[in-house]
C-alpha cells in the first residue's frame, strides 16, 4: 500500500487543526481560511488513502473496523466542512478536528483485519453502510456542537466570560448548526436503514428482521426525530435540546459498542 496519501492527509489535518486552534486564539480570519483550506486538502488526501486501502485489500473500506473508523472520520470531516460553509462559522473546528484526527490515525496506524467478506454486498449494501456511517458522523458532530453549547451557556449564565466566550459562535447559531447536523443525520439514517432492509430482503434464505441492531437503529431514529421536533419549539430550544442531543448520542455509542459486539448477529462495525 502507498503511504503517501495517509501521510499527506495526516499532515493536512494536523496543520488544519493547528490553524483552527490559532484562529480560535487570535480570531485572525486569514488563519481560519487557511485552516479550512488544509481541511479540504486533508479530505482529498483522506479520500485517496481510503481508496488506496480498499484497492490494497481488494474490498470496501468498511470491511473491517479500521476501515470503518477511517470512513467515519472522513464523513465527519465532510459533514463538518459542509456545515462550516453553510453557516459561515469556523470557530468550532478546533473542537471537531481532534475527533477526525483520532479516527483517521487510529484507522491508518493499525494493521488491516483479515476478515471473511460480508454475506451481503453490492451497490445497495454499499449505500446502506455509507449512509449509516454518514448519519453517525453527523450525530457525532451534533453531539460536539451540543457540548460546546452547554459549556458556553454555563459560562454565560455564571458570568465567567473569560477569553473563550468571545471566540465561540453565538448560542443561537450553535443550536442551528446542531439542528442542521441532526437533519443530515436523520435523512442519511432513514435512507440507510431503508436500504439495509432492502439488502436483507434480497438475501437468499430466511432472514430475521428482529436483530437487536435493527431495534436500536429505529430507537435512534425515533430519538433524533423527537430531538428535531423539540429543538424547534421555544420551550426546548437551547439547553434542553442540547442535553437531549447528548443523550441521543450516548444511545448511538451504545449501538456501536454493546449492541454491535454482543447483541447483533448481522452487523459488524456500523
Amino acid at each position: 500500500m502507498n503511504h503517501l496519501f495517509p501521510i499527506f492527509a495526516a499532515t493536512a489535518y494536523l496543520l488544519s487543526f493547528g490553524l483552527y486552534v490559532r484562529f480560535l486564539g487570535t480570531g485572525n480570519r486569514f488563519t481560519g481560511r487557511l485552516g479550512t483550506l488544509f481541511l479540504g486538502l486533508g479530505l482529498i488526501g483522506h479520500y485517496f488513502a481510503l481508496l488506496d486501502r480498499s484497492r490494497g485489500l481488494h474490498t470496501v473500506p468498511y470491511h473491517d473496523l479500521y476501515g470503518s473508523m477511517s470512513l467515519f472520520g472522513w464523513l465527519l470531516a465532510l459533514t463538518y466542512l459542509g456545515l462550516e460553509l453553510y453557516h459561515r462559522e469556523r470557530s468550532v473546528a478546533a473542537f471537531v478536528l481532534p475527533f477526525i484526527l483520532v479516527f483517521f490515525l487510529a484507522a491508518h496506524l493499525a494493521p488491516a483485519d483479515r476478515l471473511p467478506p460480508p454475506p451481503v454486498h453490492g451497490m445497495i449494501f454499499a449505500f446502506h453502510v455509507t449512509l449509516s456511517i454518514l448519519a453517525y458522523a453527523a450525530f457525532a458532530l451534533a453531539f460536539v456542537l451540543s457540548l460546546i453549547f452547554l459549556g458556553e451557556e454555563r459560562l454565560l449564565r455564571s458570568h465567567k466570560i473569560g477569553d473563550v466566550v468571545w471566540r465561540l459562535p453565538p448560542l443561537e447559531l450553535l443550536d442551528q448548526m446542531s439542528r442542521s447536523s441532526v437533519l443530515v443525520g436523520l435523512i442519511s439514517i432513514a435512507m440507510g436503514t431503508a436500504l439495509g432492509f432492502v439488502s436483507v430482503d434480497r438475501l437468499p434464505g430466511q432472514n430475521s428482521f428482529y436483530d437487536a441492531k435493527y431495534v436500536i437503529t429505529l430507537v435512534v431514529l425515533a430519538l433524533y426525530v423527537l430531538y428535531f421536533r423539540l429543538a424547534r419549539t421555544t420551550a426546548w430550544r437551547g439547553g434542553r435540546a442540547s442535553k437531549l442531543c447528548v443523550f441521543n448520542f450516548v444511545i448511538v455509542v451504545l449501538s456501536f459498542t454493546v449492541v454491535n459486539l454482543y447483541l447483533s448477529h448481522s452487523h459488524r462495525y456500523f
Binding site: 487570535t26 454565560l156 466570560i161 453565538p170 448560542l171 443561537e172 421555544t234 420551550a235 437551547g238 439547553g239
Partner: protein
Amino acid sequence: MEIVLVGLNHRTAPVEVRERVSFTAEQTRRAAEELRARGILEETLVLSTCNRSEVYGVPPESSHECAPGLSTFLSEFHSVRPDILNVSLYHHYDQEAVRHLFQVAAGLDSMLLGEAEILGQVREAYRFAHEQGATGPVLNRLFQGALEVGKRVRTETELGTRPMSVASAGVKLAERIFGKLNRRRALVLGAGTISEQVVSHLRDRGIAQLQVMNRSRDRAEELANQFGGKVVGWGEWDAALQSPDVVVSSVSAEEPVLGRDIVGRAMAARGNRALFLMDLGVPRNIDPRVGELYNVYVYNTDDLSEIVQQNRNAREDEIPRAQGIVDEHVTKFLSWQASVELVGLVDALRAKMREERASFIRARLEPMKHLTETDRAHVEKLMDEMLEKLLLEPAERLRGEKELRRKIQNVEALRDLFLSNREKP
C-alpha cells in the same frame, strides 16, 4: 525629503486648548494652502479629531528648521497665544513622526486604546488632503502605510475587538446569545443617559424593534422618537415582556422593578424563548433570582464592569503585537525613503561630476592644440565612462545594503562628503 509633525492631543493639551486648535474642513483646506503658499511646507496634511490636531508635512529645508515656523503658523491661524499653545505642542521629525502616525492609525495613541474610529478619521484626512492636491509622493506613501498599519493591527491583533464600555459590553453579550441582532426586539426600561447609550449601540447593530418604557411618558416618547421606537405604558409587564429578546433596565428605584414572578410569568407566556436582561440600575432593578429561570440571562452593572476590565487588560496585552506591526512598517517606510533619497543623491552626484568633468577638460585640454575634435570627444567619452563606473559600484552596494541604519548613514555620509548644501537633493 524630511518629515515634520507638529500637533497636540488629549495627553498634552486640555480640552479648552484642543477645541481652539481643532480644524473644520474649510480650515483644513485653507491651512494646507497657506502653509504651501508661505513656503513652510511642500506637502501638507492636517489630521483633526476631537482628541488631536496634527499637521504633517514635508518641508523644503530641514524639518528641525521649519518646526518653529509651523508652531507660529498654528498660533496665528487659530489666534491662540504662543505661550499657551507651545506648552501643549509636540514636534516629531522623520522616523519619530512616521512612528507617531503609525501608532495613531493603530489606535495605540488613542484615549480609548484600540478604538476603531481613528482609522476612519486618518483615511478621511488623507482623502481630503489628496483631493486638494496638498499631498505629494512622501505623504502619499506615509499615509498609505499608516492605513495599512491600522488595517493590519485590527485584523491581526485583538486591540480593537472587545467592548470597552458597559453599554457596548452588554450589547456584545446579547450577540453571544442571539447572534446578529437585526431580527431581535428590545425593551428599554428608563429613558436616562445610560439607556440612551445602550439604545444607540442597539440601533448600530440594527435591532429590529425597540420599545421604551418609562415612568415619565414624555421622556419615553422623546427617546423612542429619537431612535425610531415605540412607547409602552409603565407597569404593563405581561404585554411588554412577551416579545423582546433583550431587556435593558436603568431606572431609579429602591426595590427591583422586575421580580422573579413577573419574569417567570412572562417566560411561561413566551414559551421559554431566551431572554437577555441587562440591569444597569443602582440599586439593582432586576431581582437576581430571575437569573435562575430557564433561558434567562441576567447581567448587572458590576458583571459588565468586570467584563470591561477584563477586556481592557486583554487589549493591553495586545500592545506588543500591535507595536511589532508598527515597527515593521516604520522600517519599511524608512527603507523606501532611503532608496528614494539614494536615487536623488546619485543623480545629484552625477550632475556634479559632469560639471566638474566639463571644467576639468576645458582647462586641461586647452593647451593640447594637436588633439583633433574626434580625440577630444573620445577623451570626454572615456572620462564619462570612468565617472559612471565610479558612481555605479557604491550606488549598487548602497542599494543592496540590508541593514537600514547603515544604509541611511551611508547615504547621509555620501551627501555630506560630496555635495554642498545648495546641491543636496
